[in-house]
């Protein structure tokens, strides 16, 4: 729930999703769901020479389970707020 909320705060930011097949896709985060499935619009692939497979694709829906990392700008994240939310969630769930 915490991470889901975290991603919702990143809506309309440009992020890079790195998949477990080494494909890196950059685009604008349009939506995220409870499984951390991600919808990116206006995408480009990091290494189009090696990965021309997505050349004609403009928007993507990525299954959460194939995500390895999501990279974002540091200024997109309020780390103090995030740590407080994490402590609160840990307290509330007893974790």
């Amino acid at each position: 729930m915490l991470i889901f909320s975290f991603f919702k705060t990143l809506t309309d930011q440009v992020i890079t999703v790195e998949l477990k097949n080494d494909l890196c896709i950059t685009g604008t985060l349009k939506s995220v769901d409870q499984f951390l499935n991600i919808r990116l619009d206006g995408i480009r692939v990091e290494d189009p020479e090696r990965h021309p497979h997505m050349l004609a694709v403009k928007n993507v829906f990525i299954r959460g389970s194939v995500v390895r990392y999501v990279r974002m700008a540091a200024r997109a994240v309020d780390t103090t707020l995030l740590e407080d939310a994490t402590r609160r969630e840990a307290h509330n769930t007893g974790k």
Partner: protein, 95 residues
């Protein structure tokens, strides 16, 4: 799935866990990410020759095998000469 609403009746490119790429018209989907694709074609990439188009027809793809679903820009797709595009097939999803 809400994030896929805008893809309905559009040309989509599905990337499977094993790296295969299938393009077709999205006729239906559910919460498990199961898809119905009509007039689908597998695009087989190889590093020594252009993309091979293998007609598959009407397909139901189980959501478990899907890594991502991309909305294809049909104008851009039509302008690309896939017989000239050479690349290693996409890697399978491992970690």
């Amino acid at each position: 799935m809400a994030a896929l609403d805008g893809f309905r009746d559009q040309l989509v490119q599905v990337v499977l866990y094993d790296g295969r790429v299938i393009v077709g018209k999205l006729k239906g989907n559910d919460n498990f990410c199961n898809l119905i694709l009509s007039d689908s074609v597998e695009r087989e990439y190889s590093s020594d020759k252009g993309v091979e188009m293998i007609p598959l027809g009407l397909y139901m793809i189980k959501g478990d095998n899907i890594a991502l679903i991309g909305q294809v820009d049909e104008d851009k797709d039509g302008s690309l000469d896939y017989s000239e595009v050479m690349a290693e097939p996409l890697a399978e999803i491992r970690y």
